[in-house]
């Protein structure tokens, strides 16, 4: 287990940010999902030792979050969400400086800074002052500083925020490469579901400080419900009402496509039976793949 936490509680004054979270994260790329205020950043900050939980215990890479914070931070990389650069220096100095702060010897930190800047695609602008960097370059630089000391686990807080589509694609490509080919575990906190779906195999969904769902992306998509997409002709009101009576959630898209989230124990033939009873023609019917967006909506209870 890379991260293991038990009964974690944290409050900002009277506001509960985490309310008894239990989670065991396996190896690999893990997505931390949740709406704003769900407790994602608070969880990462507790795991890094920035905040001390009022209750609960946990470990990161086997190190206790209460008593071995320095060891955790030695073997973990962190890419914060906000712009957080040190002005007045170039990217090489910045990256090697943070390598040194991680405990690397000066010369090795400098050598390593060149390597990781090359890896993230900043080789040609590594001697430019950080103030002159674009948003995309800053994101890559933040990633470079997070991996300069060769961590075993990286926490990425909203790694694609503020990026254009190409920049986003580039960063996701790097994250995928890091987690799949470089043997570094990655924990990505994001509210952009497609980013998580593209990079992670395991997902943790937080909502209002509690664990809403957890599991591999493929398992989570399948176990909760079956998703059918259909187009119908006829008076749909009674038909849809009957479907809702079966605990089925119904969504209608702009092009009059119906998306039915059916409980797993109810088969597709039941849809046809109800349609026949209500004299509804089904003109289009497919069993669709559930997306992470569907799962997320289901877990946090929003449409």
């Amino acid at each position: 287990m890379s991260v293991e936490i038990k009964d974690l509680h944290f409050s900002y004054g009277r506001i509960k940010a985490l309310d008894g979270v239990d989670v065991k994260l396996p190896q690999g790329a893990i997505g931390l999902l949740g709406p704003n205020g769900a407790g994602k950043s608070t969880l990462i900050r507790i795991l890094l030792g920035f905040l001390t939980p009022q209750q609960g215990r946990g470990s990161v890479l086997g190190y206790d979050i209460h008593s071995q914070q320095a060891l955790i931070r030695r073997y973990v990389g962190y890419m914060p969400e906000d712009d957080c650069l040190i002005p007045g220096i170039d990217a090489v100095s910045f990256t090697s400086y943070l390598g040194e702060l991680s405990g690397m010897p000066k010369q090795e930190a400098m050598k390593r800074a060149h390597e990781v800047l090359f890896y993230v695609g900043l080789e040609e602008s590594r001697y430019r002052l950080l103030e002159t960097y674009s948003s995309g370059m800053k994101q890559r630089l933040k990633l470079a500083q997070a991996i300069v000391h060769d961590p075993r686990l990286i926490f990425l807080d909203e790694p694609t925020s503020g990026l254009d589509p190409q920049g986003r694609k580039d960063i996701l490509e790097l994250i995928l490469d890091i987690s799949a080919k470089k043997d570094i575990q990655v924990l990505i906190s994001s509210h952009i579901l497609s980013d998580i779906e593209a990079t992670c195999s395991y997902v943790v969904i937080l909502n209002k400080g509690r664990l809403a769902a957890e599991g591999t992306v493929s398992d989570l998509k399948q176990i909760e419900y079956s998703l059918y997409e259909l187009k119908i002709h006829g008076d749909s009101a009674a038909f849809l009402e009957r479907l809702r009576g079966l605990d089925c959630r119904v969504e209608e898209t702009e092009d009059r496509l119906l998306r039915l989230y059916m409980p797993p124990d109810i088969g597709s033939q039941e849809i046809f039976r109800l349609a026949a009873a209500d004299r509804i023609q089904i003109r289009h019917f497919i069993k669709s793949q559930t997306s992470l967006e569907d799962l997320f909506a289901e877990a946090v209870g929003v449409d």
Binding site: R45, V76, L101, M104, E115, F118, H149, D177
Partner: protein, 291 residues
Amino acid sequence: MSIKEKGYTHWQGEFRDSRLNWMPITRYGIKLAFRRKFFKFLFFSTLAPAVITLAFIYISERLSDFAFLTQDSDALSFFEVNPVFFMRYFNGGGLLFMMLMLMIFSGAGLIADDLKHNSLQLYFSRPLTKLDYFLGKASVIVFFLMLITMVPGLIFVIMKLLFAGDFQFVRQYPWLPLSVIGFSLLITVFFTFYTLLLSAVNKNRRYVAVLIFGIYVFSDIIFNIFNGIFRNPYFALFSVEKNLQQVGAVIFGQDPQYDIPWILSILVIGALCALSAWVLNRKIRGVEVVK
């Protein structure tokens, strides 16, 4: 952008001893200070009083060669190297002003810049403690202030002995090197806390620079106003400069300028350092927690 497949390899080295984690912060702080406009000029300017004092020490041993400078008895007293001579260097407004300039240019942004650019989380996502961060930042100021206090002070003593060619000076004032070290430490520690406190209370280094200069000068103005009205020397306790001078005089074995117990000045200095430590402990953290 294509991923550079060979650009990332696992690092095989060993991490350094964690007791020296603060050293890179100091090194970068000093390096960044020298990259600022005018700082090199300022830094070398602050060494001017030391160079002049050194020239006085040389002349004090060659009075016959410089007779034209020492024709009246008042001028002669300037060339007499004794504790008063040292106190004039350490306790004079000139050196304190130079220290203030160094604090403004090298220290104002030390924490303010990190607050402004959200960099504290970068530091504390590393295996650094608050103490490491504080030591790293404080050592930048200590480095610059020591270069114009303790280092020249001890060089003065050594050069006096070399120019004199005997140990008469040390035999006469054996405690003087300790006074130099003691006062240098006191003033450096105080100014370090003072600078870091103000650097931690605002994110804008220019405001911090104004605060460093303004509070120092304003406290003295307050003293002068109240002392002028009430004729009470205890108002000297309001002045940063006067408190340092009171303690300095005692350390160099002289009578303090104002007739108040010097221990009160020590208490004021100690209280300001304690306040600074408390504020720094609250302000220096990986994340800003708004409750």
